[in-house]
């Protein structure tokens, strides 16, 4: 029997059903990998007992001849941004240290109801704000990848879903949940050589996910194959009356309809995504991606997204504005930390609690958001940004009159060393240059690994689809996956 922790979600699901192994054997194998990987710091809380509990339930159901659930026998990692009943949920912040929700997020509940088991809560950038997983109160997550040639520098797993990407790449879990506000599923997937999809805004309920920027936040899966992403997303998506922006639509059968035949599809290549100075290896991978999609039967057309260069500054007004409002709830009264200096009144308590509970990047974004929403500046910053956002969405609409999907790089570089970009917040923000536009327009977008760069580090390609057309995104991802033949994996050092 092959190593159980090398199996994909589909292989675990099917192998368990056909009796090749028990669910308990799978859970135990992953629990052991999690326990042995402390050096990666991918988990904030480990829950081996939860994984075993779900596995035993699956084994028992199978022995009794009961109908199995879609994810029976499959253990997964849960980003610590999803509220899990009775299990600490921190958003990687000191503010929520010790917070044990009395309810379960909709997305995590759907996964458990489908038979999945929880291996633990995955580390992330604090309140999902960051692109390198260096803003967590619980320490940096380390990528399992290292540069070739004996350079042992600790590398960034990407962010904010860095615990998820690191854990999946290191075979600590076959799949994990992520959330994506401006690229937080796609960029970490690209950095670690795995796949991840952010569905159309509204596909996955936001209920019970610690809020960052509500008009952008979307949950999605991260896994090693496109098929696994389709499987997970089918369970995670679906209408939820508890989220006012949840889309009341049936969930398509993405897995059953997977097809890498792209005949009749047109793939748009946005010319603005190829700026002067684009990393040559990334440009070369992009060209290979174009050839792969042609080989799959697609026709390539050039398209223009003229407002692309304004996407990042637009995002860095809208996301902090929404964050400043969402994070106002952390007041030291209802949940989370409280810092009450001697003799302090209520206002002092708020200010002291928030000074002690938030990390520097979170404070920076709250303050930017407060400023752009403040009297006298609201129209110049926030209203202007929402108008530019409408133009960015219109760019995509016009491009999609000429094509069915877009192909771009996922990130402007491969993973970088921890600490390398910490000093300059702006340099860090630029990591999301290719992922933010689709977020602003609410479109489905996926990262798939394309190859390794000269340093031996993974590079990803991004597919952006029309609203609600996850199927075409997944199908193009599959076409790339089949042709890229990406089998590289990090050599175990942890």
């Amino acid at each position: 029997m092959s190593n159980l922790t090398d199996l994909t979600v589909a292989e675990i699901r099917d192998g368990f059903r056909s009796g090749d192994f028990s669910a308990r054997e799978v859970a135990e194998a992953f629990n052991a990998n999690v326990a042995a990987a402390k050096a990666l710091n991918a988990f904030i809380v480990e829950t081996p007992e939860k994984a075993l509990e779900a596995a035993d339930a699956a084994d028992k159901a199978k022995a009794a001849g009961e109908a199995l659930k879609p994810l029976s026998g499959v253990p997964i990692g849960m980003k610590d941004l999803f509220c899990t009943e009775g299990v600490q949920t921190t958003a990687a912040s000191h503010m929520l240290e010790g917070f044990k929700p009395t309810y379960e997020s909709t997305v995590s509940k759907k996964l458990w109801d489908a038979g999945a088991g929880m291996l633990g809560k995955l580390n992330l950038d604090q309140f999902a704000m960051g692109s390198s997983n260096e803003t967590s109160y619980f320490g940096n997550v380390i990528s399992p990848w290292r540069r070739s040639g004996g350079d042992n520098a600790a590398l960034a797993p990407g962010g904010s879903s860095g615990g998820s990407s690191s854990a999946v790449a290191a075979r600590l879990c076959p799949a994990a949940t992520g959330t994506d506000t401006g690229g937080s599923i796609r960029q970490p997937a690209a950095f670690t050589g795995i796949s991840g999809i952010k569905p159309t805004y509204g596909r996955c309920s936001r209920w019970g996910i610690v809020a960052f920027a509500s008009s952008l936040d979307q949950a999605g899966p991260m896994a090693r194959t496109v098929r696994d992403n389709a499987i997970l997303l089918e369970t995670m998506a679906g209408f939820d009356p508890k989220d006012s922006t949840s889309l009341d639509l049936a969930v398509p059968q993405w897995e059953a309809n997977l097809s890498s035949d792209l005949k009749g599809k047109k793939v748009g290549i946005p010319k603005e995504y190829r700026p002067d100075g684009l990393n040559e290896e990334i440009a070369a991978l992009w060209d290979r991606g174009i050839e792969w999609l042609k080989d799959a039967g697609a026709e390539i057309v050039e398209v223009s997204l003229p407002h692309s260069k304004y996407a990042l500054p637009t995002y860095y007004i809208i996301a902090p504005a929404e964050a400043s409002s969402n994070l106002a709830r952390y007041d030291g009264v209802r949940y989370g930390q409280r810092d009450l200096p001697d003799g302090a009144g209520l206002q002092d308590m708020y200010a002291a609690t928030r000074a002690a509970g938030f990390g520097p990047e979170v404070k920076r974004r709250i303050m930017i958001g407060t400023y752009v929403l403040s009297a006298g500046f609201y129209d110049a910053y926030y209203t202007q940004a929402q108008k530019v956002r409408a133009l960015i969405a219109r760019d995509f609409e016009q491009a999609f009159e000429k094509c069915d999907l877009l192909l771009t790089p996922t990130a402007p570089s491969a993973s970088f060393a921890l600490g390398e970009k910490q000093a300059d917040p702006l340099a860090m923000y630029l990591n999301d240059v290719f992922t933010v536009p689709a977020s602003l327009a609410g479109l489905p977008a996926m990262a798939v690994p394309g190859g390794l760069d000269a340093q031996g580090l993974p590079l990803g390609l991004q597919i952006i689809g029309k609203a609600l057309d996850e199927q075409t995104v997944l199908n193009a991802g599959l076409a790339i996956e089949e042709r890229a033949g990406f089998t590289a994996r990090p050599e175990k050092w942890w």
Partner: protein, 95 residues
């Protein structure tokens, strides 16, 4: 448009985040850097563009005006830093 130390302290106060003088000093160039960069949006011609309100057209739903929740006081209070007599407790508000 650049912001000064006093503005940083005002934003911090509006944000209900206490900052030391040294922290506020350090934030002046940081925030100016970011705000200077986002100001390039001013050059975009937005004539005729309505501010985005929803990325995916979606009608705001109404639900029946019925009680669907409640009777969970202890669960609501379970994570409170200080809960007394079935209430959230806070320091003195009125002098």
């Amino acid at each position: 448009m650049s912001i000064d130390l006093q503005t940083v302290k005002k934003i911090a106060s509006l944000s209900r985040i206490s900052v030391t003088d040294a922290e506020a000093e350090a934030m002046v160039p940081e925030l100016n850097n970011i705000l200077g960069w986002v100001e390039q949006l001013g050059e975009v011609d937005v004539a005729g563009a309505e501010p985005m309100t929803a990325v995916i057209p979606n009608k705001l739903r109404l639900r029946d005006d019925a009680v669907t929740d409640g009777d969970v006081r202890d669960r609501v209070l379970a994570n409170a830093p200080q809960a007394e007599h079935g209430f959230f407790a806070v320091p003195k508000v009125i002098e």
